[in-house]
């Protein structure tokens, strides 16, 4: 198929076949690994090596048919970035030119170098009426091993920067190296097709690095199955399931309520709100306090759950406060006329609920009696209830569930 010719390696004396003679510039000796310049009639040694050739998943010289065309593997590269190691194979057909095969994590892409450069900005480019969105951030990678021949000078240790753009299953890869910019279109290919066409040495396929399974925040260059959507779906499903289960486990509900009047600048002795029953082994008990409208006052409330069988008391405290004023920024308000108090881990039993408290003025308590001899009071409606769930715990769970996928999402888009 190709115009091959034989040359002698000036380093080791071995015979090498140049498969794309007239096209190739750079060639790596299959015997000793030395890098040769084959662009001129006389073969020039660029770098001498004395090591066995690097083995790749597809042998140099293999021929196969992909997308209805016959291709010969003339070169191979092993590359890596901070996360992954992958292999790239240079394919050649004298009538069609060069193509690429890229293998990473068991997935394959067929790459076509683009003659018409995509147009756009940093985050979106347009190519042949399709719009491609940037995927992740720029990645610097290096070439770690070279075999075969290439139409440019390449050697182990070369570095370049790549950026990926995605539209459906098609990717555009932009590589910048030493000021030169190259674009490649990448489309997925089944591994079985590669195996059938070229034969595969599966032992030589690039393996996933151990940390990448856990910490692979960057999407692989179009070659990694993206499971981020499933992670969000899983977190959402777990959050919904948890809400339902927590509501069921909160148990049956009983409630009691009353209204108390608290004098401002004074206090009230314990008043019985009513009786509630904890029917499950452990339940939450919440006490809600709502007051009439007031400003610049606060009400300290003390709640006691007294177990009828043991006379043991469980205590908790609540606060209702509301302030208003005006300063150089204009009027302001602070606080609420509502306050919730939650008892956790309340054992099964029947409880009498008591409330006591005191109310105060800000910045100082007002006089006990106004001009008419009336004492200012605040009305507090108190309702105690069993069978409630802790929404704070549910929100904590939601944050924990979404922390990982949100971190990955942020990592991928942090430079946009």
């Amino acid at each position: 198929m190709t115009g091959g010719k034989a040359i002698t390696c000036p380093a080791c004396g071995g015979t090498i076949e140049v498969r794309a003679a007239g096209f190739s510039v750079n060639l790596v000796c299959q015997n000793c690994g030395s890098i040769l310049d084959v662009s001129r009639p006389e073969v020039v040694l660029i770098r001498r090596h004395e090591r066995a050739r690097t083995r790749f998943a597809i042998e140099i010289g293999k021929r196969g048919t992909l997308f209805g065309q016959e291709w010969e593997v003339v070169g191979a590269l092993r590359r890596k970035d901070q996360i992954a190691i992958w292999q790239e194979f240079l394919l050649f057909n004298p009538y069609l030119g060069y193509r690429w095969l890229v293998a990473a994590d068991g997935e394959w892409q067929f790459g076509t170098p683009l003659a018409d450069r995509p147009q756009g900005d940093r985050n979106r480019v347009f190519w042949r009426s399709d719009s491609f969105s940037r995927l992740g951030r720029d990645q610097t990678f290096s070439t770690t091993a070279v075999a075969g021949e290439f139409y440019w000078r390449v050697k182990a240790g070369d570095t370049a920067t790549a950026t990926l753009f995605q539209s459906g299953e098609t990717f555009l890869s932009r590589e910048i190296s030493e000021g030169e910019e190259n674009w490649t279109q990448l489309v997925p290919v089944e591994q079985s097709d590669i195996e059938q066409s070229f034969g595969l040495d599966r032992r030589r396929l690039p393996k996933r690095k151990a940390p990448s399974g856990l910490m692979q925040f960057k999407a692989e260059p179009g070659l990694e199955q993206d499971d981020l959507g499933r992670m969000f779906l899983l977190a959402f499903a777990a959050a919904i399931l948890a809400a339902i289960a927590m509501a069921v486990l909160a148990g049956p509900s009983t409630r009691t309520s009353t209204m108390v009047q608290v004098p401002v600048g004074g206090q009230i002795a314990p008043i019985k709100v009513g009786t509630i029953t904890v029917r499950r082994p452990w339940q939450f008990v919440t006490v809600n306090a709502d007051t009439n409208q007031f400003e610049n006052r606060w009400v300290d409330l003390e709640y006691n759950l007294v177990d009828r069988s043991s006379e043991q008391s469980i205590d908790a405290y609540g606060l209702v406060e509301h302030y208003a004023g005006s300063d150089s920024d204009g009027p302001w308000t602070e606080g609420s006329h509502h306050g919730d108090t939650m008892f956790g881990h309340v054992p099964q039993g029947t409880y009498d609920v008591y409330v006591s408290g005191s109310a105060h003025g800000w910045p100082v308590d007002p006089l006990p009696n106004d001009a008419w001899g009336q004492v200012e009071t605040i009305n507090v409606w108190v309702e105690a209830e069993t069978g409630t769930m802790s929404w704070g715990m549910w929100w904590t769970l939601v944050i924990a569930l979404f922390a990982w996928p949100v971190t990955i999402l942020w990592w991928r888009h942090r430079d946009k």
């Binding site: 399974g213 499971d227 777990a238 205590d315 609540g318 606060l319 008892f343 309340v346």
Partner: protein, 48 residues
């Protein structure tokens, strides 16, 4: 299904189990037993 997704599924399961255990025993980080209000009750508003 990727290895990372499996690990995440295991994490979700652990978190869910912990949350349900806490719900069954009525444990909460946010319960107010024995917590006296100290935020602003005796100090007035925090507005400056």
């Amino acid at each position: 299904m990727t290895r990372r997704l499996l690990l995440f599924a295991a994490l979700c399961f652990c978190l869910l189990a912990a949350a349900l255990y806490a719900a069954f025993n009525a444990y909460s980080f946010f319960s107010d037993d024995e917590d006296r209000p100290v935020a602003s009750g005796h100090a007035g508003p925090t507005h400056k």
